[in-house]
């Protein structure tokens, strides 16, 4: 290290290598551009020249009609967003409670552990749509006093029931992934098992499962559309109403595009988060 940082000049050999590398890079860009144009162009030609394209364009991609139904579908989407926010808070609380019940070893919590396991088995194993139908139509049929018959609340409840089972399993795997030596270190410092869980195990476990939790959040946003089967006027139902007026399916495409505008940024964010987490982990191993 006799040379000072920043004063090093690349050797002629290195300069030559840089020229070659730049040429290789230009060639890679050219190849990927050409192959993209060829593949996507071919796809577009196949679709547009197909015999039914004229009919499909007018029934699925009618731009004027799309503009006309947009406000109604968008209003429905706002309901999906609201339900997603409310449901995710409830899911976080219930999911965490289930995960803690399943991972706890306390003797007094044995019945809760059994109940939580049965709960997770049940709601993870039944299709979401069936849970929505059973809760949405079954609970009002019981005619219990004091229990709501609002389909919005019942539908959201059904989704919360299902998703808290998913989220509980994700959180549980996060809790179990924290090495036992962390708990031992916490206990040896005098922390009770509850304190060790709260200050040492949970913060690390939850951090590790943020990417899968974000995935579940995106799925949740989409699945709030399922409660349209109960007659709730969300984006999906609004699109259905509009399209049944005109026998034109453009409203469905409008709804799909609106969902995509929400979910694509969310999934990109998740990807970036996962990427950063992996990089950090690699840096740790290397350091």
């Amino acid at each position: 290290m006799s040379q000072q940082a920043g004063t090093h000049r690349p050797s002629p050999e290195e300069q030559r290598r840089r020229v070659v590398r730049a040429k290789q890079a230009r060639r890679r860009v050219a190849i990927s551009a050409v192959s993209t144009v060829v593949v996507l162009g071919a796809l577009a030609v196949v679709v547009v020249t197909s015999p039914g394209w004229g009919v499909v364009r007018s029934t699925f991609f009618d731009l004027d009609y799309a503009r006309e139904v947009l406000p109604a579908v968008f209003k429905g989407l706002l309901l999906n967003i609201r339900l997603t926010i409310v449901a995710s808070v409830a899911i976080a609380i219930l999911g965490l409670a289930l995960a803690l019940a399943r991972t706890s070893k306390a003797a007094a919590l044995t019945p809760f552990r059994i109940l939580a396991t049965a709960y997770v088995d049940l709601f993870r194993g039944v299709p979401t749509l069936l849970v929505i139908l059973l809760v949405g139509f079954g609970v009002p049929a019981l005619q219990l006093t004091g229990v709501t018959s609002s389909v919005i609340i019942l539908g959201t409840t059904a989704i919360v029931l299902t998703y808290s089972a998913y989220v509980a399993e994700v959180l549980r795997s996060g809790i179990l992934s924290v090495h036992p030596s962390q708990r031992a270190a916490a206990r040896s410092l005098g922390l009770t098992s509850g304190q060790a869980l709260r200050y040492v195990v949970l913060p690390q476990g939850v951090r590790r499962v943020v990417p899968p939790l974000l995935n579940d959040f995106v799925s949740l946003l989409k699945d709030t559309g399922l409660i349209s089967v109960l007659g709730v006027i969300d984006a999906v139902r609004a699109a259905q109403i509009e399209s049944s007026k005109s026998f034109n399916y453009t409203p469905y495409v409008v709804a799909a595009v609106l969902f995509l505008l929400l979910t694509i940024p969310l999934t990109r964010m998740t990807d970036r988060f996962v990427h950063r987490a992996i990089e950090r982990q690699n840096a740790q191993v290397g350091g």
Binding site: S181, Q182, A184, A185, A186, R187, S188, L189, G190, L191, T192, Q195, Y199, V200, P203, Q204, R207, A283, Q284, G287
Partner: protein, 250 residues
């Protein structure tokens, strides 16, 4: 060295399944003294330390901390651990907390020390052990030696009655071993009562008041470090020290 020993281990047995790890170990550690446990891997050193910290329950025998039978099933293990500091081979710092938060977690949550005071005391400790500039860093930014020194400071922060160290230098490369050992030496000079399991014979000779050589779950030889390490009486101790010597660790 008068009065009741801080730690007394009386005829302790422990097995994991068919494997008998401790087969009647007895030990007395007077206040302000350092007992060093040596022996091959699997001789029971770590298990003995884990039993003292109640991380592993004993199968038989009694362990007393200041005359308090801590192997009594009615004893609250948390109460015991609050008086015993333990440092592990693998550091076990909490990676999601800064160095200072690692140190103040137990004082704040277990001993109800207000945050400001806990942090002031934590900073004073870091200062003393030359780690003050690392207070706001996270463990993954520190070298192994620094991490282990933080782990030692973390155990010191609750003013333990007794300190247990389980091969605290085994995960470190030779250059970093010394900084950790000098931290341990400093604890000794302050009068901390310690039980240390180690493979560093030179270090054992420097800090130990008593050296115990464990083999197959029993203490086969014990005494002053110069006696046990340089003039061993038992054949098993001689064999072990010769192997260590051949490996260039003495």
């Amino acid at each position: 060295m008068t009065g009741t020993p801080v730690l007394r281990v009386e005829d302790v047995y422990k097995s994991f399944g068919a494997e008998q790890v401790l087969q009647g170990v007895s030990l007395a550690v007077p206040e302000h003294t350092v007992t060093v446990l040596i022996g091959a891997s699997g001789s029971g050193k770590s298990t003995l330390l884990r039993c003292v910290n109640l991380l592993t329950p004993v199968d038989d025998g009694v362990i007393r901390l200041d005359d308090w039978d801590i192997t009594d099933p009615d004893v609250d293990p948390d109460q015991v651990r609050r008086q015993i500091g333990m440092v592990f081979q693998s550091f076990n710092l909490f990676p999601h907390l800064s160095v200072l938060d690692n140190i103040t977690l137990s004082p704040r949550k277990v001993h109800d020390v207000p945050r400001a005071r806990a942090e002031a005391e934590g900073m004073a400790l870091l200062e003393r052990f030359g780690l003050a500039d690392k207070a706001r860093q996270y463990p993954d930014r520190l070298s192994g030696g620094q991490q282990q020194r933080v782990a030692i400071v973390r155990s010191m922060a609750v003013s333990p009655r007794l300190m247990l160290m389980d091969e605290v230098t085994s995960a470190l490369d030779p250059v970093l071993v010394n900084e950790v050992l000098s931290t341990v030496r400093e604890l000794k000079s302050e009068g901390m009562t310690m039980v240390i399991a180690t493979h560093e014979m030179g270090f054992a000779e420097q800090v130990a008041d008593e050296v115990c050589f464990l083999s197959a779950g029993i203490i086969v030889e014990r005494g002053r470090p110069e006696a046990v390490l340089h003039d061993p009486q038992d054949q098993r101790t001689r064999d072990f020290l010769r192997r260590v010597h051949e490996a260039g660790r003495l």
